[in-house]
């Protein structure tokens, strides 16, 4: 029962988060890109519920639009890496031999370098911007999952039902699609959802260093970085996006955990 409550309440929060991102243009009280120098660094007011930043832009509107950027990139990364990891993992696990060897050594190389440092190097070399940041994050996050899938496939390959299928002459491709993928996919999706929080963190970290999204796009990490200068005089500019990141990551992690526990077959 307790698990169910956790799952329901965390799902509600995640849905709220997604709704916030989708409906940002309707929810935002002001244009997040409209600057008004005369109104810069204002406190809370009815026109600007959470005040304005150093260019006189509405902080609340920027926070709402920031949710779009983080969630949109994180979800696209999820979809793209899901495909890459599946492809590599299935190939290495099922074909085996030299293909497995080569692919896994490539994975080793990627795994040997810490995620963030590697992403930093890629973005540093390619330049900032959403597209390059997306490429960098995809490149660092497909690896671990590819390896997990490969190991799952290898053990499935030895299972009796796959052996039978093989004996009666079902083609390899069909075995993969009909007998292996359906088993692997949900587990990997789950793992990916749990990893969503760390992807959002990665986006914010890169943007914090000025290497993520490009101005004037609103992004939480960049908002924190932009407000460094005003930490002494206007600390709220830094706290608000910080709180947003913290809550988003916490909610997503909680949701992932709740989902995993709910789906854990041992618990039933």
């Amino acid at each position: 029962m307790k698990k169910k409550i956790a799952l329901i309440s965390s799902s509600v929060l995640v849905l709220l988060l997604i709704a916030m991102a989708i409906f940002a243009p309707w929810l935002a009280p002001n244009d997040p890109y409209a600057t008004n120098m005369a109104l810069k660094l204002q406190g809370f007011s009815t026109d600007y519920p959470l005040g304005t930043d150093y260019l006189g832009r509405c902080v609340l509107s920027r926070l709402l639009y920031g949710a779009r950027v983080s969630l949109f990139i994180a979800l696209s990364v999820l979809v793209v890496t899901l495909f890459i990891s599946m492809f590599v993992g299935l190939l290495a696990g099922y074909v085996g031999g030299i293909v497995d060897l080569v692919l896994m050594r490539i994975c080793d190389i990627f795994l040997a370098i810490p995620d963030f440092v590697f992403a930093l190097v890629i973005v540093g070399a390619l330049g900032g911007g959403i597209r390059n940041m997306f490429i960098a994050i995809v490149l660092v996050s497909w690896v671990g999952f590819a390896r997990i899938i490969r190991n799952m496939v290898r053990s499935l390959k030895e299972s009796t039902y796959v052996q039978y299928a093989r004996t009666i002459g079902v083609p390899k491709r069909k075995i993969m699609i009909r007998h292996i993928v359906p088993f692997v996919f949900p587990q990997i999706l789950l793992l990916k959802l749990i990893g969503l929080g760390s992807t959002i963190l990665l986006i914010s970290e890169l943007s914090f260093l000025g290497l993520g999204v490009s101005a004037p796009m609103a992004e939480w990490g960049m908002m924190i970085s932009d407000s460094k200068t005003y930490l002494m005089s206007h600390p709220m500019l830094m706290f608000l996006p910080g709180i947003m990141i913290s809550f988003t990551v916490l909610i997503l992690n909680w949701f992932g955990d709740a989902l995993r526990e709910a789906m854990d077959p041992k618990a039933i």
């Binding site: 101005a215 002494m232 005089s233 910080g242 992690n253």
Partner: protein
């Protein structure tokens, strides 16, 4: 565990500055607190090699080493290590008489031989100094007697003395400072100079301790010691000042305008702003994309509200600039009609050039091309970013799209060198570099100034004039040439001056006699006192 660690990470991110520098306690002001000054600096001072550039820090080089002649407060050349000098009538050689009482901090005496050795080693490494005409123009150095040297030039060069006074690379290192290989391009053995300070203690990336040179030939510093703490983060510097770990934050490189103002508002410190030291300019690239079009350049000049930018982005700390060099700089008192803020005129100019705004579109187009400006900036520079973000939203209103590219330092430099931009931030260097050296870089390959003029129809004429002006020995001719150069630069609208930069400092109330040097990279610690 995962939850906890991600939460901690974010928390650390949010209060990133708050935790800087907690570990080191106030140090070394114990014996005689009255005569020691502690200040912060952004980067390590490097090896303090007087003949090389980064990572050697200019202010430290200026503290340890002396030039033959110095650049006076009034812009006049004054005696330093040389008491007098004489130019040959053809302008091709200079004879210097050295002071007799100069002692290096290792006890050795300044001699003509040592001066020759210093100049030779710099000239030998001329590849590193290609941007600096003075190094290219020196032919050889003759020793006349123990205290007289003659420097022969390949051709006359009017700013010769001015460039001898630069903080680098032509200041004098003692013989014992030279490395075994004999050439300082490999580094130096010890930082031994004849300047007012001696480097007595140093720990890389942590601190440097300078002690007064008791044998200094000129007016001795009033302070006994200066301790420089390396604190790379601005918030950490402000907190160090608050805690009393440092007494002084000197220079606009250490504090953003908003940070300066935040400290000023507390009322606990003395604050000071200098006279204009250089010019903040935006440089167009006339060889790339839409800025090849003169009307676009002119329109942008008129579409820039300098006063608003200065009031709100630079917190009123700088002054509006309409010319490349502030009036009062050598040869810069020229009447030029300012490009004043006028959005109607800007729009008209764009319309005239065929950049039309289709109904419903946000940005102007011409033959299917959008009016987009590529503006790169160093992703670590918050002030530049803010200025550009302001321009981005201001120019959007006249249908100009600004594509901001924040890049890591190396990548940004590479982009600037290859000219992959429409507009880029660039400061002039202040005296004694301005105006001649800044102008000269316009003829150098891959320089920002080069891309500014290369695409012009009058590029060849301009380059020829710049070549002539630094060779001219006749003051009148020089003035006429400068006037024509400044005129062309202004008419072609290739630079957009934003503001005259100022330097500023924040110090605690125990310091007295604070001031700025005419050269913006120098910290005049010699005059500072502790009450």
């Amino acid at each position: 565990m995962k939850k906890l660690s991600s939460f901690l990470l974010i928390f650390a991110l949010s209060i990133v500055a708050a935790c800087g520098n907690l570990e080191d306690k106030k140090q070394s002001t114990s014996s005689n607190p009255k005569s020691v000054l502690t200040m912060s600096w952004v980067k390590d001072i490097g090896q303090v090699n007087p003949h090389m550039y980064a990572p050697n820090e200019l202010f430290a080089q200026a503290m340890l080493y002396d030039p033959l002649v110095s650049y006076g407060e009034d812009g006049k050349i004054q005696p330093a290590l040389a008491t007098s000098w004489e130019m040959a009538t053809d302008g091709k050689s200079y004879t210097f008489t050295l002071r007799d009482d100069v002692m290096y901090s290792d006890g050795s005496k300044l001699t003509a031989e040592n001066v020759k050795r210093n100049i030779d080693t710099v000239v030998d490494n001329s590849a590193a100094h290609s941007w600096l005409e003075v190094v290219a123009v020196i032919d050889n150095v003759e020793i006349i007697d123990e205290l007289q040297v003659k420097i022969n030039l390949k051709e006359p060069y009017y700013p010769f003395l001015q460039e001898l006074s630069l903080i680098r690379p032509l200041r004098m290192l003692a013989d014992s400072g030279f490395p075994e290989s004999g050439t300082t391009k490999d580094g130096i053995a010890k930082p031994i100079g004849s300047g007012p300070w001696i480097l007595t203690d140093y720990q890389q990336d942590s601190f440097a301790e300078f002690t007064r040179n008791e044998n200094y030939w000129g007016e001795k510093p009033k302070l006994k010691k200066v301790i420089v703490k390396i604190i790379p983060d601005a918030q950490a510097r402000m907190m160090a000042l608050e805690k009393g770990d440092i007494d002084l934050i000197f220079g606009s490189g250490q504090l953003a305008p908003a940070e300066y103002q935040a400290l000023q508002k507390t009322g606990k410190y003395q604050t000071m702003i200098s006279e204009p030291s250089s010019t903040r300019i935006l440089s167009f690239n006339t060889t790339y994309g839409v800025t090849q079009d003169k009307n676009v350049r002119l329109a942008l000049q008129h579409a820039f509200d300098r006063q608003t930018m200065i009031d709100y982005v630079l917190n009123g700390l700088e002054q509006e600039a309409y010319t490349l060099f502030a009036p009062g700089f050598p040869f810069s008192d020229i009447k030029l009609e300012h490009y004043t803020y006028n959005l109607e005129k800007a729009t008209q100019l764009l319309e005239d050039a065929g950049w039309a705004l289709e109904s419903g579109a946000t940005f102007r187009t011409k033959n299917g091309q959008t009016l987009t400006l590529v503006i790169p900036y160093n992703s670590g520079d918050q002030v530049h970013k803010t200025i550009f973000e302001y321009l981005q939203s201001a120019w959007r209103e006249i249908g100009v799209e600004v594509q901001l590219i924040g890049e890591e330092d190396q990548l940004f430099k590479m982009r600037s060198k290859t000219g992959q931009y429409n507009l880029i931030m660039n400061d002039t260097w202040g005296v004694p570099y301005d105006p001649h050296m800044y102008i000269r870089t316009m003829t150098g390959d891959k320089q920002i100034g080069y891309y500014a003029q290369k695409g012009l129809a009058v590029s060849e004429q301009l380059t020829a004039n710049i070549g002539k002006v630094i060779r001219s020995t006749d003051e009148g001719q020089r003035r006429a040439l400068y006037e024509s150069i400044f005129q062309t630069i202004h008419e072609e609208a290739i630079f957009m001056p934003l503001s005259y930069r100022t330097n500023y400092l924040v110090a605690n109330n125990e310091l007295a006699n604070l001031s700025f040097s005419k050269q913006q990279y120098e910290v005049p610690l010699k005059n500072f006192e502790v009450k």
